[in-house]
Amino acid sequence: MALADARTGSGEPPKVSLLYNPALRSIVYQVVTLVVIVAVVWYAWNNVVQNLARANMTAGFGFLNSRAGFDLAQSLIDYSSDSTYFRALQVGLINTLVVAAAGVITATIVGLLVGIGRLSHNWLIARLCTVYVEIFRNIPPLLVIFFWYLGVLALLPSIRSIFQHLEENPDAVFFISNRGIYMPAPVFGEGFGAVVIAFAIGIVAAIAFTVWANARQRATGLRPPVLWVNLGLIVLLPFLVFLVMGSPMTLDYAVPGSFNMRGGMVIGPEFLALYLALSLYTASFIAEIVRAGIRGVSKGQTEASYALGLRPGQATRLVVLPQALRIIIPPLTSQYLNLIKNSSLAVAVGYADLVAVGGTILNQSGKSIEIISIWMLIYVSISLITSLFMNWFNAKMALVER
């Protein structure tokens, strides 16, 4: 007690002015914040109501059921100009997901190769990869999209020269033109379901075989031929079933129509420009992340695996990359999120993604608040789902420590 007495002069806690009470201050700050936010929201809401009234408009999501009235060039589900706005937004969302998924896969592969290439002992390959990374990292993605769309794809042969080419070579089935890439489309006949089932069975069997092979390797040290068996299960099995069922698939060829090609499958220049730009732009960032990840694994690990007799390829694949992955995954996640968000640049070339479709609806109906909330809701959900998945993956890959 003597100490306490010396400090405060008595047993009582020191008298502090209420002004300096941390708890009270915190409450005051928060109340002020809350009041300011409520005031701003109230002010904005009031203005929105007045502005809408002046423009004779109503708020609400009822407009989603009215007729869209515009056509979309790219659609994977049934859609016509008689469909509803809601249907149009669904088409847009699917298109966004398609280009984002394709971009993520390509960017990862290219980024991984370039990142490893930058660390290659081969001087020329390392320099080329550096040049690639430094060029693409430092120009805006929108410019890359325009570059592909206006600078490269627009200069491809016109549809008329494709018609000419077809007259000379009637057997041609694959065309590249400035309206897109044309190729035969598969038409699935009766009994194709069996092939799909065989494919699914093949995948499940391959996973089971890998698990068994790993267990056997741990027990005996012998590695069964996993790659060949799995390849047989996944590729050969469905193919055999396909033959047994009597090849239930025909090809629908693209043929010249009056102004354009009819039938077949077409990948439009809008999709190609967006897909190439997003993949190549993001790949340059992923390459840097991969490089940093590999450099983050200490050199002793590589040397230890050489000492164990692993070949350089094996050392990279089995020792260095799994450890590098722990460093790579978190920044990789944010690159994936960036790619998904950058896919909204589709609006600049007219690929019918969520933002492009939403923008058209916004211009037609003037429902700006509703459309922008739908955008934000969907993008935030996609971002959240992606980061949840990547966090799960990260936790699975993380070093298990005591």
Binding site: I37, N122, W123, L124, I135, R137, P140, L143, S368, I372
Partner: protein, 384 residues
Amino acid sequence: MAESITYVRDRFIEAEKPPTSDSSALAWIRHNLFASATDGAMTIIAILAIVWYLPAAINWLFISAVWTGADRTVCLTTEQGGQLPAGWSGACWAYVNDRFVQFMFGSYPRGELWRPLLVVAMFVGLLIPFLIPKVPRKGLNALLLLVVFPIVSFFLLLGGTFGLRHVETSLWGGLMVTLIISFVGIVVSLPAGILLALGRRSQMPILKTVCIAFIELIRGVPLITVLFMASVLLPLFLEPGNNIDKFLRALIGVSIFASAYMAEVIRGGLQAIPKGQYEAADALGLNYFHKMTFVVLPQAIKLVIPGIVNTFIGMFKDTSLVTIISMYDLLGIVKASFGDSGWITPVTPLTGLIFAGFVFWIFCFGMSRYSAFVERRLDTGHKR
């Protein structure tokens, strides 16, 4: 124990050859280009690709390119109505040359161009000493660059006061707009980002929730939607009959977006400061404001300077998105000029995009080099 194998060497292994100290060019090539069969194959493919594409690219960009001329006919072949031989293809630099002032300043009145030029001169004059570590008086320099310079530039560019002619923002364009938007984004996002990061790490639940919600919402959506929000919703949120400037709306959108990203970068720095620093500041009796400004933030910001510069680079590239809400930044004005009847040729888009890409590249590459330089300078005593 009978099954265990004992192994005793009965003779020495042969000595390895000493590593070669051959430093001839041939040895270098063997070691760096043809170390193994795969390596050699890749080198040959790479050399073939370079031999195939590089001369063609140089030819297209420089040798076949058209450098001077007044209109599109100088860049057209005879079939297309020009004078060049059939089958010609090359860059049309004459077009960039002709449109250069427009690419830099948009439709800013040509008689008033001295005003943006003066702003550029002030900017360069203040920025260069700010970037060179040896030049003294960094505080004064920062004050001039980040506070005085924006105010002076605002009056100088917009006019309407001090006897200067008023220049509508709709006339602004080109690289000038790109630079203004990114500079404003940088100046606003730094303090806003610091405040948001501190709010996110504070103990007060309401403040914390608000900051987290703002940061995560903005970071979860594409910049385009934020720009649409600023350009379409902002007028709805304000007093009826308001006519908020389009350029200002874009500035608000970009600033909001940049602040959320900056907040996360700065939060990274705050988290990296050991707890002892906070406790030591508390033990010295510093209040929250003093603790942050004198102890924590100087260390935290120093740690994340590379991250901050990366955010700047990202923002500089992202300004090109204002094209989509129909404003004319560098990329927007270059793209708009493709439709200009005076210069429609098959090579115009590619030439214009290469020019715009080169300008963007110079700025971004410069910033990333500077960031690497700062990183090396600040990286003291951690090298093994």
